[in-house]
Structure formats: structure tokens, C-alpha cells
Amino acid sequence: MAAIMTLQTGTGFWNPIIWIIAFVIAFVFAYLIWMLGEKDPKKTGDLIRPYLSGNPEPAKEAVHVPGGNLYWGFTEALQGYYTRVVPLHSGILTDYLLWFLGVMAFVLVLVGVIV
């Protein structure tokens, strides 16, 4: 069973079944640990409220981190790359056509048509 499901990649192999078995075992352990916890936690009162150093909890929309703020550091660090590449996507049809024909001319040179 396990042998026929092994993906041969020429130099190596990969068997999803072993991975899944490992996954299931990890899940069983996680479940066992979870079982050891409190069976019936309180659903109301102070226990479920977030504790923010005694400050009142802000509104839901105020604590949500929107997607635009993620990876700010990444784009900031690669500023040199992004300031060059993003403006290429200018949205102007003429530029798109130029790139297309330019690449075609370049490959013509590469293949050896235009010397």
C-alpha cells in the first residue's frame, strides 16, 4: 500500500501516507493535551474579556489589523526594488505593447536572427 503511493522524483521520493500518519499522530497528541484542560470553562464574566492592563476594551473594528498593514517591513526593506518595478505596471496600453514587442525583438537577437 505504502509503496505504490510513493512519488518517485528521479533522485528522491515522497510518500504522502507517512506524512499523513505523522499528522494524525500529532493531532492525537494535541487532542490528548486539550482533554487535560478545564472541561467546562465559564462562558460569561471577566474570564472571557481580554485584559489590556486594566484599560477598557476598544471596539471590534479598532483592533482589527487590516491586510494593508501586513508585510510593511518587507516592502520597506525592498524599497529599491519596489520603486523600480511597481511603476512598470503603468496601466498604459502603449507600454504593454512596447514590452511585448521589445521582448520579441530581444528573443530574435538571442536566437540569432538579428546579429
Partner: protein, 115 residues
């Protein structure tokens, strides 16, 4: 020799004019006109390829049996003309909608999608 190649030169020139119009004009309608010129150039090339010196046109009513030119490129050209009509109509109707919504049909204004 030049005379024999004249149709090919004309086809090449038509295509070059068309591509130049697409790259140098900023008005979308003019760019589509350029596209039609490229199409005309390709059609001319196709038809020129079908020329056989001394060949007999494949019109069944007055051609001798078995000695006609096979009208492959003519059929191809007709097909391409039909395709060209469909494409041009679609493109022009796109430009109409864009002009109505954006108030402009210039390639460097029609660039709300970018980045």
C-alpha cells in the same frame, strides 16, 4: 526580383505602419486602426503567398479539371477577415463604453488598473 517581392514588401510595410501607429498614437481608436493595418498586412502576405505563376483560379465553372490552384491561403484570408471584423467590432465597442464612463479615450488616461 524587386517586382516579384513587391507584395511581400508592401505587406511588411503595412504591418510596420500598423505597429508604429499602435505605439506612437495615444488615442485608443487610432491604436485600433493600427491593429487593423497590421491585420491587413498579414492578409496581404497570406494572399501573396498563394500566387502561383501560370496557375488557374479554382473556379469550377470554367477551369480545366485537376489543374487548379488549391485555394488554401485564400480560405485562410477570408477566415482572418471575418475574425478581424469580430475583433475590431468588439474593441471599438469597448472603447465606446470606456469613453462614456471615463470621458476620454486616450491610452494614458485609461489607466485605472495599475500597480
Amino acid at each position: 526580383m524587386v517586382l516579384y517581392n513587391l507584395p511581400f514588401i508592401a505587406a511588411g510595410l503595412l504591418m510596420a505602419f500598423g505597429i508604429a501607429a499602435m505605439l506612437l498614437r495615444r488615442n485608443l481608436i487610432k491604436m485600433i486602426m493600427g491593429l487593423s493595418l497590421v491585420e491587413a498586412g498579414v492578409n496581404l502576405l497570406l494572399v501573396s503567398l498563394g500566387y502561383r505563376a501560370g496557375g488557374i483560379a479554382p473556379i469550377f465553372t470554367n477551369a480545366p479539371r485537376d489543374l487548379m490552384v488549391m485555394p488554401t491561403v485564400q480560405a485562410m484570408t477570408l477566415t482572418n477577415i471575418v475574425i478581424g471584423i469580430a475583433t475590431t467590432a468588439l474593441l471599438l465597442s469597448f472603447v465606446m463604453v470606456i469613453y462614456r464612463r471615463y470621458g476620454s479615450a486616450e491610452a494614458d488616461v485609461v489607466r485605472r488598473l495599475r500597480g
